[in-house]
């Protein structure tokens, strides 16, 4: 199959409620109601550096960087925390900042060698803010399925991701 053979598109006035639109792309909530249609990836970001596997080599200056994106439009801002969300600072965004596209963010950080929890929190142009994991689980429920990092049933997990660094500079995923 290849998009070059795209030949005919049928437009309809309303959803036909095929299996994809009813059973599949819906997100069941703890109340028993389901969100429909669950197509867009909501505003999301995560830190790619440092991250599990990218170990810090002793105290000193580092650049925290990561990616943000939203299915609802361009990224408006990204904040970064090094204390598990107690305090936040505004990250710099790399151009171009395009709708529904990866947006690179950067933040200088002076690591004192002590345990830290790194988080990023993105806001999109529509004003949607990335929720905490706890807030998202409260609203959407939590899957028992592995891997636990996705947590939410349909896999649209857009909550804040937390990386913990230990005094050895090793980085691991934590719920914070």
């Amino acid at each position: 199959m290849n998009v070059k053979w795209l030949h005919r598109i049928k437009l309809v006035e309303a959803p036909v409620m095929a299996i994809n639109e009813t059973k599949q792309y819906t997100e069941l909530l703890p109340s028993g109601k389901a969100l429909q249609f669950f197509f867009p990836q909501e505003v999301k970001s995560f830190i790619t550096r440092p991250s599990p596997g990218l170990t810090l080599k002793g105290p000193g200056f580092y650049e925290i960087s990561g990616l943000a994106y939203s299915g609802n439009g361009p990224i408006n801002k990204v904040e970064v925390s090094a204390d598990g969300g107690k305090s936040w600072a505004l990250a710099a965004l790399d151009a171009p900042v395009l709708s529904k596209s990866f947006t690179r963010f950067r933040m200088p950080w002076n690591w004192n060698g002590q345990p830290a929890i790194l988080q990023s929190r993105a806001t999109d142009e529509a004003g949607n803010v990335q929720p905490t994991r706890a807030a998202l689980v409260t609203e959407r429920g939590e899957s028992k399925a592995v891997p636990p990092v996705t947590a939410v049933l349909a896999g649209h997990f857009n909550a804040i991701t937390s990386w913990a660094t230990n005094p050895n500079g090793e980085v691991s995923h934590v719920y914070a």
Binding site: H7, I19, T22, K23, G32, F37, S143, K144
Partner: protein
Amino acid sequence: MSMHERTATTILLALALGWGTAIAAEGQKFGQPITPNDFAAWDISIAPDGVGLPAGSGTPTQGAAIYAQKCVTCHGEKGSGGSGGALVGGGPLSGSDRDPAKLIGNYWPYATTIFDFTRRAMPWAQPKSLSNNEVYALTAYLLALNKIIGENDAMNAEALPKVRMPNRDGFVPLYPGKH
């Protein structure tokens, strides 16, 4: 998404993609324009209000006979389940089980979806091989098994869209007012 449903998605894409006949106003001309007859076989989406439903009719009793022949191997006796999954039952959607089975009786909001999916995707090895009467009969059988219609209720283009599914009001917009 089960293997069966993924294949159905592929078929939906195939509907949009057509086969093999690129039409360009200029340049080399390969193949020939697709004709209405050619794409009619792919233009089979059924809307929840019944738009697109073909002529024909079928009863649960007729459906049971077809089911025993073409469906029971994968879906079990009376839809009890097998490699193709169960077609009856389904527990409550709220509560401690956060991954409940999403079945016709406890989740699907529209009866027309049963017709649409069965016709385009079933039986697994011979999709689109069922006649419209057979699809109506199987749809009626599944609705009766789930006790959504009576055992003698025939399904057709008029009756099917009027079937009220148990979870019809179980959905809320992700973005209120925005889609």
